[in-house]
Subunit: 173 residues, 2 copies
């Protein structure tokens, strides 16, 4: 009987560990992106929202940044630098005028997320990615990673945000 | 010893129930909005993302729609009408030009979420809100509900989306 109790305690403990870890690690899917070797983290679409944005110009998209549990905790507690294990996902969709919404508002003013464009990830591992501020970067379109040339542009572009650990996005309450 | 086993089984079962229910119900905070009697659902900021939008004109905001577990499941499975218990949250922030981002892009093109404006909720209860398509509506600014006049505009505005159970926002993958 003691074995059953111990087994049940083990189940309880394991359930807690799985519940805690599931959104953070999970299985990664598909092909790894070049340079940093990052795969699409399983379950990233279930992560919590950090903020949203709109880029005009050539990008012309609507964006949402999601964070795994480590990221959200760090954001909410104002923790800088972000701890190892932080993953930030940036989801980009085409910027689409919504005729349906415009009819309701009586004017052309409503823009919504259209087809998905690319997805990007920043993964914090201060040892593995020491040469790039502790961050690894990855860019995927339709599940396929962009080429090495694209990935070479990630860190230089994020360098101006060095004071905030190379992360541009602020948390939107 | 059997009691300990039963107690542990109860804990395991209860933990499952709590884990399942926590994001859906939870305690509601603060003052109830007029007409529909809806309070701000606790933990709504942890809900998963449905989509994002930008409204120009007088609204001039960036938006994110979040859904509780019932809402996300219905969206992903294409379930219409939405089942009772669905709650959709709409978070609106001021539309702010990001000088920091613009410097990186070398042109004025980047708009981000500024200070929070209002938060709106749609709550599905087909019996309680039978007169308004099964939906209750609520609008809050700084935790305080808008007045009755504002809440009278919610359902008429959503009526054009009747074919999609009065919900405009589509799920962004």
């Amino acid at each position: 009987m003691r074995r059953i109790v111990l087994a049940l305690l083990a189940v309880v403990a394991l359930a807690g560990v799985v519940a805690y870890m599931a959104p953070v690690s999970g299985q990664a899917d598909g092909e790894a992106a070049p340079i940093y070797g990052i795969k699409i983290p399983a379950g990233y679409r279930d992560w919590r929202l950090i903020s949203v944005a709109h880029e005009e110009g050539n990008l012309n998209d609507l964006r949402a940044q999601l964070g795994n549990d480590v990221a959200i905790k760090a954001y909410r507690e104002g923790q800088l630098p972000f701890p190892d294990g932080t993953i930030i996902a940036a989801l980009h969709w085409n910027y689409v005028s919504s005729e349906e919404n415009n009819k309701v508002f009586g004017r052309v003013q409503s823009f919504i997320a259209g087809a998905p464009k690319n997805i990007q990830f920043m993964v914090k591992d201060s040892k593995k990615y020491a040469a790039t501020g502790g961050w690894g970067f990855a860019d995927f379109t339709d599940g396929k990673p962009a080429d090495e040339a694209v990935h070479k542009t990630c860190f230089p572009c994020h360098e101006p945000a060095k004071a905030r650990d190379f992360v541009f996005t602020r948390y939107a309450p």
